[in-house]
């Protein structure tokens, strides 16, 4: 990971006249703020991607990393996101496809190589925060996937909030019992989810430049919660 401070990340993006952080920048920001993120780094070439994967250990994930690409999975005929790469050859070819597609589209892109995370080992949660024109910083939590989109099972607070209040948010959810384990799945770390909510709220509270943060999914596991994807946008 880079050694940038929270403000450093934001200033760098600002300097580029951008209002959206790349996934890698967003994760740097969250990492600096204390959230767990998968180990990983960006690579500029196929060889470098393999080198990164070797350092991280297999399996890995390789994703397109570019300020021009927001919806990675739909980009470049589906070559933007490659999961569960078991060895150097798979990494090399995935990285090559990403870089070739970027060249075809004429955009500046790199490859983000990250340790693969076992989704089965946890509960996918969405944690977000937005700066409301009337209320200022706000945060939300919900379960990932269908529960948030169809049932709108979310809990909201005005930020900043305490960890206790953030735990109460997770308890507000209809899906709250899932945090405690179900059908043999282990209980997940509710406190770690709460800490992630607090962190998102604090980031919005402390940095007026940030308009919105979305960690989706945040994978809640038995003893931690890790941000698998993140979107951060800045005020225009």
């Amino acid at each position: 990971m880079t050694e940038l401070t929270e403000s450093g990340v934001l200033e760098a993006v600002r300097g580029d006249q951008r209002t959206t952080l790349t996934e890698s920048e967003a994760k740097d920001l969250l990492d600096e703020a204390g959230l767990a993120v998968p180990r990983g780094r960006t690579a500029r070439s196929s060889d470098d991607a393999v080198k990164a994967a070797d350092e991280i250990g297999y399996p890995v994930v390789a994703k397109v990393a570019s300020p021009s690409v927001q919806h990675k999975s739909g980009w470049g005929d589906g070559v933007g996101v490659n999961v569960n790469l078991e060895g150097p050859d798979a990494v090399r070819s995935a990285a090559a496809e990403i870089l070739e597609a970027a060249e075809r589209e004429g955009i500046d892109a790199a490859v983000l190589v990250e340790e693969a995370v076992d989704l089965e080992a946890g509960l996918e949660v969405i944690v977000g925060g937005t700066r409301d024109p009337s209320f200022g910083p706000t945060v939300l939590v919900g379960l990932g996937g269908i529960t948030v989109e169809v049932l709108q099972d979310t809990s909201h607070r005005l930020a900043p909030i305490s960890t206790a209040e953030a735990v109460a948010m997770t308890e507000d959810l209809e899906a709250s019992p899932l945090f405690d384990g179900y059908r043999g799945s282990p209980a997940v770390d509710r406190e770690a989810v709460a800490e992630a909510i607090v962190t998102v709220g604090d980031l919005l509270d402390e940095h007026e430049a940030i308009r919105e943060i979305e960690v989706n999914p945040l994978l809640a596991r038995s003893d931690d919660a890790v941000a698998l994807d993140a979107l951060v946008s800045l005020e225009d």
């Binding site: 969405i126 977000g128 925060g129 937005t130 409301d132 024109p133 009337s134 209320f135 200022g136 706000t138 939300l140 919900g142 948030v148 989109e149 709108q152 979310t154 809990s155 909201h156 607070r157 005005l158 900043p160 909030i161 305490s162 206790a164 209040e165 919105e212 943060i213 979305e214 989706n216 979107l231 946008s233």
Partner: protein, 461 residues
């Protein structure tokens, strides 16, 4: 900008006053003259008198003490009239006309001009697009609505974003025989908004609870802070379920609706919320009349099982705790009524009986209980325990809330006697339960404010 000129005027000018019944300038004048202070009709194109008062051509030519203008002229000329008010040293004005920020870009431009004139001239504005306000105890009717004299004086201040909703609540109060200290329709909130109105009525000695109606404001955080700072209890009715937006960009933006933020914000800042205007009034009555509850522990005494169960069900959903009664209380209850149907909490006496009041008093004196809720159908041979409960509210310094059912004429008379003992009464079990729910939420805020709130208070020390 002070709002004292607005809500506590010494003299009133009615600008655009008219002697033609049905015109706003006539209706406002007819209401204004009830006030015990000078009232001046202002109209450059009228002569003679209206309601026995001589027309004055301009506010600048009034010979007397005026600090509030009721502006009954069309929207386009309102900014100029406000500038004249400033010249005449009139510190507050009510703008009844619509056609401002609620009416598109042109209206917004007009409102911007109006605000500029008001700020430059130091004039507090209620409205535009409002029905005004009234304070029955002082016969102060700064409004154009008719048939409002019957709204009784009391201790509830209604502060509504919508002038129409303000009257909807005020007339429900009148119908229910509940008195109000003030009713205010904020309208477009050009300069006087929630913060200013809440601050003023918090300091008003006639007001014991503030009833808010909120549709939406671009100063949400400030509204919540005003509620939290108010020593007078505030209860809020927020209208407008969210529209769920498009998920294309991010979920966070789409899922964060105004309604969610109001509900979350009111809860975080310790403001009970309600889902309807009747509930607003019911909750306000309990908050205003009862001693401040120390906690969320409710002791229920019922003479009939069914209503008691309905009440219990609803209270639990509202976050109330139903504590066990102390052994002492249980012994007292057993002694009063041996073999009582159910002497835990709820206490169910099975039917009204002469000793019912003693049971209520025993539960009220229980140290585990912060709030008492009583249900008893009216039974002629027994009546209500008014005599026994006299002085109990002050003695235990806890809310006692009473619900009943019976013939209207009897309830009108008999429940009024309980109300005089600072025991608010309701005529449906669920309405009493909802009112107690508001007391419970208010008590939780006082006992256990959110950690953030606590930190801020400490920082202020």
């Amino acid at each position: 900008m002070s709002v004292t000129n607005l809500f506590d005027p010494s003299g009133i000018a009615v600008v655009g006053a008219s002697d033609t019944p049905g015109k706003i300038g006539y209706e406002a004048m007819r209401n204004a003259i009830e006030f015990d202070g000078p009232v001046y009709p202002v109209n450059p194109s009228a002569s003679g008198t209206v309601f026995g008062r001589e027309f004055v051509p301009s506010v600048t030519e009034i010979d007397g003490d005026v600090d509030l203008a009721l502006i009954c002229v069309p929207a386009q000329v309102v900014p100029d009239v406000v500038a004249e008010c400033s010249e005449a040293d009139i510190g507050a004005a009510i703008i009844f006309a619509g056609g401002f920020s609620e009416a598109g870009p042109e209206g917004q431009e007009l409102q911007d001009r109006l605000v500029a004139a008001a700020e430059e001239g130091g004039v507090s504005l209620l409205g535009p697009n409002t029905s005004g306000f009234l304070e029955p105890s002082r016969d102060l009717y700064a409004t154009f609505a008719s048939d409002i004299e019957g709204i009784p004086a009391g201790n509830l201040a209604i502060i509504a974003q919508s002038g129409g909703l303000a009257y909807a609540v005020a007339f429900q109060a009148e119908n229910a025989g509940v008195g109000i200290s003030a009713m205010v329709g904020l309208g477009n909130r050009a300069t006087v908004g929630f913060r200013e109105a809440i601050d003023y009525f918090d300091g008003d000695e006639r007001t014991d609870a503030i009833l808010l109606h909120v549709e939406g404001t671009d100063r949400g955080r400030e509204l919540l802070e005003a509620c939290r700072e108010s020593e007078t209890p505030v209860v809020a009715y927020n209208v407008g379920e969210q529209d769920v937006g498009d998920f294309a960009e991010s979920h966070t933006g789409a899922l964060t609706g105004e309604h969610e933020l109001y509900e979350a914000g009111f809860a975080q800042y310790g403001v009970p919320t309600v889902r309807s205007s009747p509930e607003l009034l019911d909750a306000g009555k309990a908050l205003a009349d009862c001693p401040e509850p120390d906690g969320p522990n409710v002791g229920i005494v019922t003479a009939q099982a069914g209503p008691g169960i309905a009440i219990t069900d609803r209270l639990k959903a509202a976050g109330a705790t139903l504590p066990s009664l102390t052994e002492e209380t249980q012994a007292v209850v057993e002694e009063i009524l041996p073999g009582i149907t159910f002497s835990a909490n709820p206490v169910d006496t099975g039917r009204p009986m002469p000793e019912f009041g003693e049971v209520v008093a025993a539960v009220a004196r229980d140290d585990n209980v912060d709030i008492v809720l009583v249900y008893e159908l009216y039974e002629g041979s027994v009546g209500y325990p008014t005599d026994v409960l006299e002085g109990v509210v002050d003695e235990v310094d806890k809310p006692i809330v009473f619900a009943s059912g019976g013939p209207e004429a009897i309830l009108d008379e008999e429940l009024a006697e309980l109300e005089e003992l600072r025991i608010p009464t309701y005529r449906a079990p669920e309405r009493a339960a909802d009112a107690v729910g508001a007391l419970v939420r208010y008590a939780k805020r006082n006992r256990n404010p959110d950690a953030v709130a606590a930190e801020e208070v400490n920082a202020d020390d």
